[in-house]
Symmetry: C2
Amino acid sequence: MSKNKKVRLDSAGRFAYDGLDRVIHEKARLGIVTSLATHPQGLLFNDLKELCSLTDGNLSRHLQILQEAGLVQIWKGFKDNRPQTLCQLTAQGQQRFLEYVAVLENVVTDALSGAPASPNKRVSEGWSPA
Amino acid sequence: MSKNKKVRLDSAGRFAYDGLDRVIHEKARLGIVTSLATHPQGLLFNDLKELCSLTDGNLSRHLQILQEAGLVQIWKGFKDNRPQTLCQLTAQGQQRFLEYVAVLENVVTDALSGAPASPNKRVSEGWSPA
DNA sequence: CGCTGTTACTTTACATTGCAAAGTTAGCGA
DNA sequence: TCGCTAACTTTGCAATGTAAAGTAACAGCG
């Protein structure tokens, strides 16, 4: 079996992506935050529901998490005597989202840098499948 | 209160990002898959542990999920009479990862297209904070 | 040779999280 | 007045992420 080269110490944590903010990274919330980022005037609860294809309960939960994390401001209002909820990114939310996107760009860069489309090298002798 | 424009029907699902493969999207697994994508010859369990800053138990769990999903091939071998585990992306894993990264690029594009760095517009009258 | 520590993982226990069904409040129309 | 609908919130529970604990085997030492 060929001798595998030990990962260099300075690579430790290279793919940990610590800056990937979990509050934003969850798929449903990523969609919510991205759609809010592209609508500075905010979006209604129903608009978010449609844009992100979420159920009422799910959207409500995620908005609560985003609000508690300080990324989203929730406004209550009325239209035709009916209650309406408007959601908007806070300044902090925008900032954290930009930071998150920068890390996401790193992931994309990493992903495309290692010739991922090329076939894997055959493992050398001495290995058997698990 | 100003009249909010209803989201156009053709925008439904615009930010659902259905192509964001959850098996890959989980932060720890994203790191694992990205690091494997940049090492076609595969990586040892310990190398992955260091590169991704994961505990043994956590890494093992995620590798199991990736293997069960068909994205990763696990090879067992020995070095100096000690067991070693080599992990490698499968062809399917590479394909799905490329598809995933394409969607990630969409997210990044969306995120940067809506003037996210510009301050939010003040909400019109009639709204009060939740 | 027995014992202890270490290595390279796997398994387990449990806390956290994501989801949608169920619930709530209030308005509208018959 | 009643039934239905809208716009959410809350709840129950299944799924998931994490690291501590466990396992098997090797190395070194006395």
